[in-house]
């Protein structure tokens, strides 16, 4: 009698275990148990507007400086748009976002020139920023890219931290765009008080050019393949979601062909130019002119201007350039 009852109990337990396993299996098959699903299910976090306050009198919206010394050119351009004190306050955390995506040397012009990154980092230090962080999501091997681009050593020497995945994480952010509603973005963007965009101007196989607005791709995690299928809309979406405090565009060495990866020195034209400004559309329009493109023919620029992110004309009108000597 007792043996029968125990057998029944064993069978009952086994049936319970079977039901539990079956349920688990069904849930797993439906993807309910995948960690990604729950990460994605978190409510996307809004990105704060990092845009700088309007300039006082005398400060330009866009300044271009030319000279063989990138650091001097950067200082001159930033001074002309109001000086670093306009953009960075003591104690603030400043995120610098260069293009540090490619396992290439500075001569190849695929990444932001290390001297440009170092100079902006030094300026932030002079403004007594609490933390200055240089970060990107490289396409190539991250550690090697940081080293070979020259950015890691230059930024560290200037008093900045250099971070890239997996040493930094991502947060699902609300982008509110027509293509990009929400996406994983470097958490540092959400944590920083100021975000300074440090793109390099260069050719791009798909979008025509890459400069400041396209540089935000480097903030994204996840699979980027989907973004490139509608690249102009994606760039405009990102531009609307991430508003930089300041953009300093590096056109010291401009890759005019073979972008974005490049590699040939013949495709790099030494222009010794740096632009600084608060209008991301104007900066990109200026970059387009360096590649002999009409900015009005670049769909993402037209889209960005249409969304009120800036003015193409401001980047193409006759600019009084600052020359900082040899």
């Amino acid at each position: 009698m007792r043996a029968r009852a125990e057998r029944r109990l064993v069978l009952k337990r086994l049936a319970q275990a079977g039901v539990a396993l079956g349920t688990t299996g069904i849930l797993a098959a439906l993807g309910v148990l995948s960690p990604g699903r729950w990460r994605g299910a978190k409510k996307p976090v809004p990105i704060r507007d990092h845009a700088a306050e309007p300039a006082g009198s005398g400060a330009r919206a866009l300044a271009v400086a030319r000279g063989a010394d990138p650091a001097r050119a950067v200082r001159a351009a930033v001074d002309a748009v109001g000086g670093i004190g306009r953009f960075v306050r003591p104690g603030e955390t400043v995120l610098l976002k260069p293009n540090m995506a490619w396992d290439r040397t500075p001569e190849q012009g695929a990444n932001t020139h290390p001297a440009v990154v170092a100079c902006v980092a030094a300026l932030c230090r002079e403004a007594r920023a609490g933390r200055v962080i240089v970060a990107d999501v490289p396409v190539h091997d991250a550690a090697r890219t940081a080293e070979r681009s020259g950015i890691r050593d230059a930024a560290l020497a200037a008093g900045a931290e250099v971070l890239y995945p997996p040493r930094v994480g991502f947060t699902v952010a609300a982008l509110g765009g027509s293509v990009l509603d929400h996406w994983e973005i470097l958490s540092l963007v959400l944590e920083a008080d100021r975000v300074i965009n440090l793109p390099v101007v260069k050719d791009h196989a798909l979008s025509g050019l890459t400069c400041g607005l396209k540089n935000w791709y480097g903030l994204l995690g996840g699979t980027r393949a989907r973004l490139h299928q509608d690249i102009h809309l994606s760039i405009a979406d990102l531009g609307a979601a991430v508003r930089p405090t300041l953009t300093v565009a590096d056109a010291t060495r401009v890759m005019v062909r073979g972008g974005p990866t490049g590699g040939r020195l013949e495709d790099v034209v030494i222009m010794n130019a740096v632009a600084a400004g608060t209008d991301p559309v104007a900066i990109d329009a200026w970059g387009a002119t360096l590649l002999h493109m009409d900015p009005s023919d670049v769909p993402y620029l037209v889209l960005a201007e249409g969304r009120g992110l800036g003015s193409i004309r401001a980047g193409t009108q006759r600019l009084e350039e600052i020359h900082v000597g040899a």
Binding site: L21, T105, P106, E107, D141, H228, Q229
Partner: protein
């Protein structure tokens, strides 16, 4: 008032110490039986079978080197990517390359002389020709493959549906002409790949 069964101290609901022990034993048995099943279910749910056949990328983002196969004379590649994963190497250029019919990308890094090599395999020669033309412009020079654009720092060439780009590290002073033997060696390795049907 107490129920008769309680008073009597009998019945399954009010088990004696011995019965409780046997119940614990039954539970342990069930757990022992269920544990391996649960482990197996978890392994399957986490893609155990899938991983056996389709390895994912390592944390660095580079692909796992696959056997070079027909590329005799070259070391295992640093990356060997199908069309769907070109972003892992060329990011924004991936969609453009796919539109031109690129179906495979392989990458190497050489130490002597320091140089980077990318090999793009297209559905046909047209795609390879178009991408070479975009990268190098219209001018051609003597060099490996069926058409080439050669300089001291770079060699771009096409052989059939295969397009190769070889860049010497500009930060390293290389002997003049030291890149050309590398280009020839790559071309020899690519002949068999170029002849492979898609």
């Amino acid at each position: 008032m107490l129920a008769p069964s309680m008073v009597a101290g009998k019945g399954p609901r009010f088990a004696s110490g011995k019965t409780r022990l046997s119940r614990v034993g039954v539970l342990l048995q069930a757990l022992l039986l269920a544990a391996p099943l649960a482990g197996l279910a978890a392994w399957i749910a986490r893609g155990g079978f899938a991983r056996t056949h389709t390895p994912g990328p390592p944390p660095s983002g580079e692909s796992v080197p696959s056997p070079a196969g027909p590329l005799t004379g070259l070391p295992p590649p640093l990356a060997d990517l199908p069309a769907a994963r070109l972003e892992e190497r060329v990011d924004g250029a991936a969609e453009y390359l796919r539109r031109e019919g690129c179906r495979r990308l392989l990458a190497w890094r050489f130490e002597d002389p320091p140089a980077d090599l990318e090999v793009l395999v297209f559905d046909g020669p047209e795609g390879a020709r178009a991408v070479l033309a975009r990268d190098a412009g219209p001018e051609r020079t003597a060099g490996p493959g069926e058409e080439a654009a050669v300089s001291e720092q770079s060699i771009l060439f096409r052989r059939g549906p295969v397009y190769a780009r070889l860049f010497a590290d500009p930060s390293t002073v290389i002997r003049s002409g030291s890149l050309e033997p590398v280009g020839e060696r790559v071309d020899r390795a690519l002949r068999s790949l170029a002849e492979t049907r898609p």
